[in-house]
């Protein structure tokens, strides 16, 4: 009973870490862009990237199928050029989780960067420090708490991701069956012991992440 549970937990952690890592890199880049650069369509971009937070995960999963499925533009290109098929793989689960949780990192990063006084960055420039140096020595040290808090929330969200993942990655035990999907399958099959264990493991993990996130988050940074 415990071995499938551990397999599902390991898979969930793998998917969550990959998805959160991708979200962190993209979220910091886009969050900085939205906070510091004025361009037409800025708020429209922000709204578009926030959509995954309000859309039903199944709708999102359907959109992903349309894009990365064998007949979708990205899926067809990947298949024809590299022979890669994403659907029903753990990588598809990573993509689904990353898209669903992205707004959490983006919102956290954007508001964290917006609280950094732009004049401090100007002061650093006049002192001769390069643009990369300004970001690494002034902007990021003053914003990292907000960025990290958003990232931890995203991690918790990806651990619990169900709908979109099921649509694009399916439920293949040992391959794409993550914790939250395994819970569903166990309940469906009447395996209450397995379900109890899975639920306990998931709950403890999510509570731990949330506690850490709330300790890191400065009060002025609004996360959602």
């Amino acid at each position: 009973m415990t071995e499938p549970a551990l397999t599902a937990l390991a898979l969930s952690l793998k998917v969550a870490l990959w998805a959160t890592g991708i979200d962190l890199v993209l979220g910091v880049a886009v969050g900085y862009l939205l906070a510091r650069v004025r361009f037409p369509g800025r708020e429209l971009l922000d709204a578009l990237l926030t959509l995954p937070m309000v859309m039903p995960p199944t709708v999102l999963g359907y959109y992903l199928l349309v894009v990365i499925g064998r007949n979708g533009p990205l899926g067809a290109w990947l298949h024809d050029s590299f022979g890669i098929n994403l659907i029903f793989t753990w990588q598809a689960a990573v993509i689904a989780a990353a898209v669903v949780a992205f707004p959490l990192v983006l919102k956290g990063a954007r508001s964290a960067f917006e609280t950094v006084d732009a004049q401090l960055e100007q002061a650093a420039r006049v002192l001769g420090v390069s643009e990369v140096g300004v970001f690494l020595r002034v902007t990021l040290p003053l914003a990292w708490r907000g960025v990290l808090a958003g990232t931890l929330l995203a991690f918790a969200r990806t651990m619990g991701e169900f709908g979109a993942t099921l649509m694009v990655a399916g439920s293949i035990p040992g391959k794409t069956q993550t914790l939250s999907i395994a819970v569903y399958e166990a309940v469906q099959a009447g395996q209450d012991d397995t379900a109890n264990l899975l639920v306990l493991v998931t709950s403890v993990t999510c509570v731990l992440v949330l506690v850490v996130a709330s300790r890191l988050a400065p009060r002025r940074v609004v996360l959602a």
Binding site: L120, Q122, R125, L127, G128, S130
Partner: protein
Amino acid sequence: MTIAVDIAATLRSGARTFELRTRFTAAGQRVVIYGASGAGKSQMLKAIAGLMRPHAGRIELGGRVLFDADAGIDISPQRRRVGYLFQDYALFPHLNVRQNIGFGLQRGWRNPPRRGDDAAVGYWLEAFGLEAVAHQLPEQLSGGQRQRVALARALVAEPDALLLDEPFAALDPALRVRMRQELDALQRRLDIPMLLITHDPDDAATFGGQILTMADGAIVDERFTGSGTWTSQTNEW
């Protein structure tokens, strides 16, 4: 040291637009730009430092062309070699006094060490009596100490000129008088060109030198004076 500025810029804040048409040449070691808030002084100073880009014109500092719209020259703020004292000092809140002063001396992607032993930083810590607070954060300092840290940070890299944006506005009146005297003595000792902008006629009178009066984005009056003899000619603010 000669500062030659001839710039045009259109500034937008909300729905309001403001035309900056500033032209002056200053040759002395002490230059004061005096004018009411909203006259465009700060933006003009930012243009000299490379923090605001005019749409036309030319800026020259000590024979170096920093900006020339026609020739396509726009030296980055990193390479203009000017010191800049921000109105509220813009000290890095996450770095201690020593790290703030040594910030520009340390190149690359890392901040200076918390307990460094850089000789130039040590010199300024001693010169400004900041040794006792070297390991404190800016939020733990008094107003006068903050200004000294900001001055040391701007001066430690030996810039070609020091630009000061309302250096005394954030201080209470008693401290203001003392810091004016400190700046006066500092300029005499270092013999570094200083360009100071202020809305306070007392600042202009105390600091002396070449005093340019600015209104609505343009220089409207220019006079030279020894320290303490100038009085404001325009009283509409």
